[in-house]
Assembly symmetry: C2
Homo-oligomer: 355 residues x 2
């Protein structure tokens, strides 16, 4: 039988709701902070297979999670496309060579992940060899639109002025950029699957800053082409799409052919179920801040979340955003136990209930 997560993503009958946590390998764990300090640079963790493997496995050693997720960053793809990534304290990611004109977009290469991103593929092979209990491994990349925002803005942004200027003043150039990104991302995810990941996820962190029409023009089609390319080669590998603030665009996301959609914490789950009508699995969406509450309250919030997603399967429990760095690790244990203990009641009957 396939692992629980995969069956849930395929909306097959399951015995309990699987759980994994966005940023589960990260700063809230003292063992992560220790490794991070030793490595000096965040990127050293990503680029050293043995370290990426250790970090990926850390949360699995503590908690009964239903998936591992590759420790990496969505910006290492544009890094190897020639933009040169640094992480600057208090500033976040910064590119040494952001895209500044038509020429810099035209010059962007189609990469070979087996060469330029071999360290990721090595990390995946190492993680898979070390994963016990057939825990599945999730691979990922950023959506073309989201990665493009960093490439054009030069780093994180508040108002996205530069890329929006490109979008409205020179959409042809933006489409060219997104096409190259989509192609590289499809190859990159295929390579991750070849190296061993069981599920792939696209993080469309900034899809929500687009107008509805622009979302349909500049984000969805490129995610869709990636889903299509991945499915063409690996029809059985589930694909998850996560657009932050994407609760209003779910119909378009369903039509991409993805197996599951991530919901952020602000999503109206009732509305999301109405729109998606059990055509995809849904993943989410407990507010990471809920882990600030006392244990009894966390248990109550987990039960409320399970009830919102309802019976009938097709739900993967997760937070709606990455776990906060100042989360008490003991509260994560409470979360894991609550999902494990409370979710079977939502799966007692195996008849398919319409979402």
């Amino acid at each position: 039988m396939e692992p629980l997560l995969l069956r849930a993503l395929k909306r097959q009958p399951i015995e309990r709701t699987p759980l994994w946590i966005m940023r589960q390998a990260g700063r809230y764990l003292p063992e992560y902070r220790a490794l991070r300090q030793e490595a000096k640079q965040f990127l050293t963790l990503c680029r050293t297979p043995d370290l990426a493997c250790q970090v990926t496995l850390q949360p699995l050693e503590r908690y009964p999670l239903d998936a591992a997720i590759l420790f990496s960053d969505i910006l290492i793809l544009p890094d190897v496309m020639g933009l040169g990534l640094d992480f600057v304290t208090h500033e976040g990611p910064v590119f040494r060579h952001p895209l500044q004109d038509e020429r810099s977009i035209a010059r962007l290469p189609i990469i070979d992940p087996a060469i330029e991103l071999s360290y990721v593929l090595d990390a995946i092979r190492l993680i898979k060899a070390n994963l016990k209990d057939k825990t599945p491994l999730i691979g990922f990349a950023g959506s073309p639109w989201t990665v493009a925002t960093y490439m054009v803005e030069g780093g994180s942004s508040k108002h996205f002025n530069k890329i929006k200027k490109l979008l409205y003043a020179d959409p042809v150039q933006l489409h060219q950029l997104l096409r190259v990104l989509a192609q590289n991302t499809a190859h990159y995810l295929q390579a991750q699957i070849e190296a061993g990941v069981d599920v792939v996820m696209l993080f469309d962190t900034w899809g929500g800053v687009l107008s509805h029409a622009d979302f349909l023009t500049f984000s969805v089609p490129y995610m869709q082409s990636i889903v299509t390319e991945v499915k063409k080669k690996y029809p059985n590998v589930p694909v998850i799409l996560f657009t932050k603030n994407g609760g209003r665009q779910l119909e378009a996301l369903v039509e991409t052919g993805a197996d599951a959609l991530g919901l952020d914490s602000g999503a109206n789950v009732h509305l999301a179920r109405q729109i998606t009508r059990h055509r995809v699995a849904l993943q989410g969406n407990l507010d990471p801040a809920a882990l600030y509450a006392e244990p009894a309250q966390i248990v109550a919030l987990v039960e409320k979340t399970l009830a919102e997603f309802g019976p009938g399967g097709g739900h993967v429990f997760n937070l709606g955003h990455g776990i906060y760095p100042d989360t008490n690790p003991e509260h994560v244990q409470v979360l894991c136990e609550a999902v494990r203990n409370l979710s079977p009641q939502f799966h007692v009957s195996q008849e398919v209930v319409m979402r």
Copy 2:
């Protein structure tokens, strides 16, 4: 006959779609930048009635807009509640005395706007005396939840950790804070109406960072109580609510009794119309970045926006977010003319069309 904006907000038949622009008095205007430089401090502009009046009127002197909006800031209320507001270059608003414990919340005063915020009321009277053509004036405040985020975080925030910690660890305290804010805000808006504003608007800038359930618990009820208080005294003054990223929560916002809801640029207008079913007017939602496009393209995007909101009235044209500081002022003229020229076709028939 009442001004166009008021009739649109009341969903009465109108001859064309009214237009105003969030942050229409602001940095994209050279005459604003000149006054701002002279005043040295942003807060000096807010606190000096003559300057606030001049700034408020600047865009009206350039463009045929259908409303003026008071030049002020949502944080001057907590400023006079004792938190002490500064604007720090590159950092934005910072409170000298953020709320740090139960005691500091318990100490928060109920203010008398006629005393503590007399400079705002003086500015309103001055603006009204100077407004030609019966152009209506919009007054505003922040929503209690939104203002509370700044009071607890101490300024702007990215992840809202502190207030979310308060929400999950000590909700009783947060409710106490929101109650005091709602009471002060209701009094403040009533005082603005007494001084002469024709419409009031609540900016719920950070309502979208709450989970759906928390939004219904910590933001909506306090906005609702403000709407109720304002309507009790001034039933004929339209109230607009604007929750950024609130497109998923519109049903709850309709039920507050507000006359109109603002939609941000990411909103799915089709879905918004389905949910609100002509029970409120809708305001928005052209992406401010659309003003980066060439004039012909701006005209096309205006027409598309008008078509999305459809015929039958109940639409106030606006951007979905504040206008960007690097907007070309000539493109604002293009926007104004496009709305003025293209909107009458959506009002030819006066029969009520279901949204």
